[in-house]
Structure formats: C-alpha cells, structure tokens
Subunit: 221 residues, 2 copies
Amino acid sequence: MTSADPEPESVPTVSNSPADIVLTSQLQDVPVDRATAAARRVIDALLRTDRTNANLDRVAEELDNIADHLEQHAPVVAERLIDMWRGEGVTRHDPVTGPENAIAAPLALTGRADGSVDGVVTLTLPYQGPPGHVHGGVAALLLDHTLGVANAWSGRSGATAQLNVRYHRPTPLFEPLTVSGRMVSEDGRKINSAGAIHSADGTLCVSVEGLFIDKRVPRPR
Amino acid sequence: MTSADPEPESVPTVSNSPADIVLTSQLQDVPVDRATAAARRVIDALLRTDRTNANLDRVAEELDNIADHLEQHAPVVAERLIDMWRGEGVTRHDPVTGPENAIAAPLALTGRADGSVDGVVTLTLPYQGPPGHVHGGVAALLLDHTLGVANAWSGRSGATAQLNVRYHRPTPLFEPLTVSGRMVSEDGRKINSAGAIHSADGTLCVSVEGLFIDKRVPRPR
C-alpha cells in the first residue's frame, strides 16, 4: 500500500489508542455500503450461476441499466478523487478493506497491543487461482495492504518499495484465513514489515516481507 | 499463478504455435461475458457516483434481486468447480484475465516469438491504492498472473513459490499500462521468470522476479 499524505491527528496508532480497535473503515448501514455489498454478491453469483439457464441476457441488460444510472449521477473523476480522499484517515474505497469497493472481500484489520494487526477473511470464487485455492496474486494484494495498515498502526506510513512473498502451501478458498502483519524495524525513511496468511487450522500458507519508503503521494485537492 | 494440471495438447506454446496469438481467454459475445462486463461497469460506477443523489437504496435492492436470481440458478459449489475447470486450458474465470470474473480488468496477454508475453490494460478507481495510482498489491496480482501465462507460453507450468516485486515509481490509473513477462531460466522443477509494468510513456513502474515450482493442484472431478 502507498498512503496518501497523512492527517496524523486522525490516524490511530498503538501509542495513542486502545488496543484491539478496528483500523480499517467499517461497514456502515448506509446506502452506498449496502449497494456495494449487493454488488459483491452479484460478482460471486455470476461465477457460480448456471451459464445456460439463468437468463443472463436479461441480467446483462439490468446491470447495464444500473451502471447507466450510476454513471449519470457521477461527477467528473477529478472532482470525485478530491472527494474520496477527504475525511477519514482510513480509506473507504481501497480494493482490500474498502466497504465502498466491490472488489474488496472486504478484510477488516484490528490493531493489537504488541503493534501487530490482524483480520479474518473468507475468500470465494472471484479470488480463485488454482482449483479451490486463492490466487497467489490475491494473497500478495491482501498482504501488501495489511503491511501498510500495520505500518500506520506503528505510527509510520510509506510507499511499498519492495515486496517479497513466499508461498508455503496453497491457500484454501471457502474457509476463514487469518491475515496478519507488523512493522519489524525502521531505519530513517526505510520501514521493514512482515506478514502472513494462515489457514483455519493454523497452517502457514503465505509469508511476506516488505520494504516501505516514507514518501507519499499528495492528496488530490 | 498456480495452474491446474495441464491438458498439454490444448496449451499453446512458443514452439507449437504461431507468434502474436492471444493466450488468455477472449471476451466472447455470449450472455455471461456481457453480464460480467456490465457488472464491471457497476463496480466502477459505484465508486464514482454521487453518494447522496444516486438513489443508492434502490440500486442496492435491484442488485440484491439480481444476486438472488443468480444464486437460485447456481449449482452447489463442488459441482460448479468441476464444470469451471473443464475444457479450455486457459481459464475464463481468474481474477486477472477472466472474461467471466468481474474483478478482472480484464488483461489480455499475447505470446511473442521471443518467448515473452505482454498485454495492455487501463485500470480505474476499483484498483486504486495511493491517490490516482494503482494499488501496489494489484500490480503484484497482475504480474504474478502474467508470469504464470509466460511460463505456459514457454511450455512450463507451476505454482508460485516466491515473488519479489520492486516498485520503481507510482503506477498511474486511467492510462494504458503494458504488462509483460517471460520465463528466464529453468532448472529441473524450478522455473525463474521476470516481468514488468510500464506506463504509456515507457517508464518502468514495477518489476518482478518469480520462482515457480512445477507442481500442480489437481482439477476437481
């Protein structure tokens, strides 16, 4: 993850906050979160449904109508970018934890007293690589983001400079996975972090080491 | 990428096929591809639309109705898994290139005479990490998958064992990116591959080295 420039006062860290708080944007009972949750169901169901018997021509038409409607009410992208980066230090729209992003599972991450962060997520067919298992690149995506959140929880933030991902065993779909991360060391602008994905029985599936550089992309204004 | 066990006769390689052929599953003019393309528009538009003025309560209801309908026509997952892994050596449903997966941009990859593969893709808001730029984990996802396709084009296939991703510059959204990969060397069951993402002006944004092990997850039967 690369962060936007921070609003330090709004970012919870292990030294300014109670432990065991959720660091990612929470699902709210608001229309945009409900619509996004429903879109996630559609993405998943499109991969599962009967190819010949589910009247997919009509489904295509209905989805295109919904997209037309949403696009008609969309501001130009430059304006939307300014708006989406305003407010919450934690984003609501990223592809891993964002309640407003239908691509996100979403993963919720909790900050622990020892400086680590972790969360549990169950992945389904949209995230498949090998048969019945998580795509290796999806594991990398989840871990990259988790390291970014772990860095923030340790009071640092930066752009990913290097990510080394090791695949120990195939990561299963359809069962709760624990994704965890922590900042390991810092040296000036360099931040070293590590993380892992474990399956429900505690087996290590994927581990990661990341090097981050404290350098930020400015928020759109 | 980790592959399913191969059906070697059906997999095009640089030594058995003409150059410049598309290796990934192509978008077809069939209902499931049209419905999935429409779902991609919805995912994107949900991130862009006006939060207060787009009648998102009604959109949520309509999307839930579509998901209900699709789920009613879905076989149990075990059956669907057998069916989705039948047929084409190249998958239609992965999260990078799959025309049937709304999470996929999708990226189409072409095999070249020199053994490399490449493709061009423009990413939008669902793939955002830092403001206006591609999420580092999404870049890793695209590259992991591209190396898998490159290995297949070189006549090999295997599970990702290690992925080293280096981020040289922020990767821009909203402009055509070239994603490329090639097998670099092989040593028994070990396969070494490398790839990159370049922006439209030829700037190197992300590079990757991958180690793959020739070991496959069996297809569901």
